[in-house]
Symmetry: C2
């Protein structure tokens, strides 16, 4: 048990870049993203412990190049890959949930640059199969977090001339998620509202 | 685009051990498991392309020990971890699906040894939240594949004195999935039957 706990904390503290390759100069950016990600993870832990819903984070995909089997399999060469789906999915009352959490430093818009075409395709498929697809977007400098239906992001991505979604649009069509102590980012009431309607 | 395609094929051909550490001596075992896993993956690709349902495989969790940032992030030391959830989840008609695919060489029973307590806990949570939880079990020597409701496995795991589920029980309470050319393992009709009832 002690080994397991240590291993878990060790991995938690390692700050593995969960998105695109992180260069040393952008390390503070990575840390900020990690704080937001930790808030999401802690919220999901809370939901699971309270029996409210079950949301899991997909592991970071890693492309393994070489493995040394001489003393058990040790990976000696590998690199991080971009997630081709989203980071989170799960179940609430039988319904499928799927979302991506993104943080931006910008104050006036949410840039679409770090959303891949594969992720957009994935979210379109989720919607097609009647899953609940959304984004949780943090404006870190404003300390504001929003729940945004994935359909808005898809529309902007595919039809918009802009390479970002204006902050005011997100404020208008999204739903604010207020930060709190426990749970950190209480997004479930929004899901409950959506599922009651449909 | 060419680089991406190459990278993708490279990873596909690499045969990364997706479960517990694979030692060289059990390599043929790993290959057999991979063939079954490939059948599941191809079936899921077929379902996605036909717009029937969306099931994704969780990446193999890897614990990263050290990263060399000198020429972009290259992982220089890491090891495979056991999946604490299941390998597959997805959505069919809004409903959440979650399953584990396991292959056994045994002819008379399915051993529970390679199912972790974390996976059992995860599947119990899925059922609690009204998700559809199941196993796809291959008896490789018999060339037979069965769909088995996760609740049976949970019951055997928690209450049974046996460390395996008899083949005859699986044949009795499970549903046979016949192998075919396309899709390889057509499990979706069973899901459709379940969701129509509930």
């Amino acid at each position: 048990m002690i080994n397991y706990a240590n291993g878990k904390n060790f991995q938690k503290n390692l700050k593995i870049p969960s998105k695109s390759p992180v260069k040393p100069k952008s390390f503070s950016h990575g840390n900020r993203g990690m704080a937001f990600e930790n808030d999401i993870n802690e919220t999901n832990d809370y939901y699971r412990n309270q029996g409210l819903c079950l949301v899991t984070k997909r592991p970071t995909p890693i492309n393994v190049v070489s493995v040394d089997y001489s003393s058990g399999p040790i990976i000696t060469n590998a690199y991080f890959e971009k997630q081709s789906t989203t980071d989170y999915n799960g179940v609430y009352n039988g319904r499928y949930l799927d979302f991506e959490a993104k943080s931006t430093k910008k104050k006036t818009s949410f840039p679409l640059a770090n959303i891949s075409k594969h992720q957009i395709e994935h979210l379109k498929q989720v919607i097609k199969h009647k899953g609940i697809a959304f984004f949780i977007i943090e404006f870190s400098e404003l300390d504001e977090v929003y729940f945004l239906d994935a359909q808005y992001v898809i529309n902007f991505y595919e039809n918009g001339d802009r390479k970002s979604i204006p902050y005011n649009t997100i404020k208008d069509v999204g739903k604010r998620i207020k930060k709190a102590f426990i749970p950190r980012l209480d997004y479930l009431p929004i899901i409950q509202e959506i599922t009651e309607k449909s």
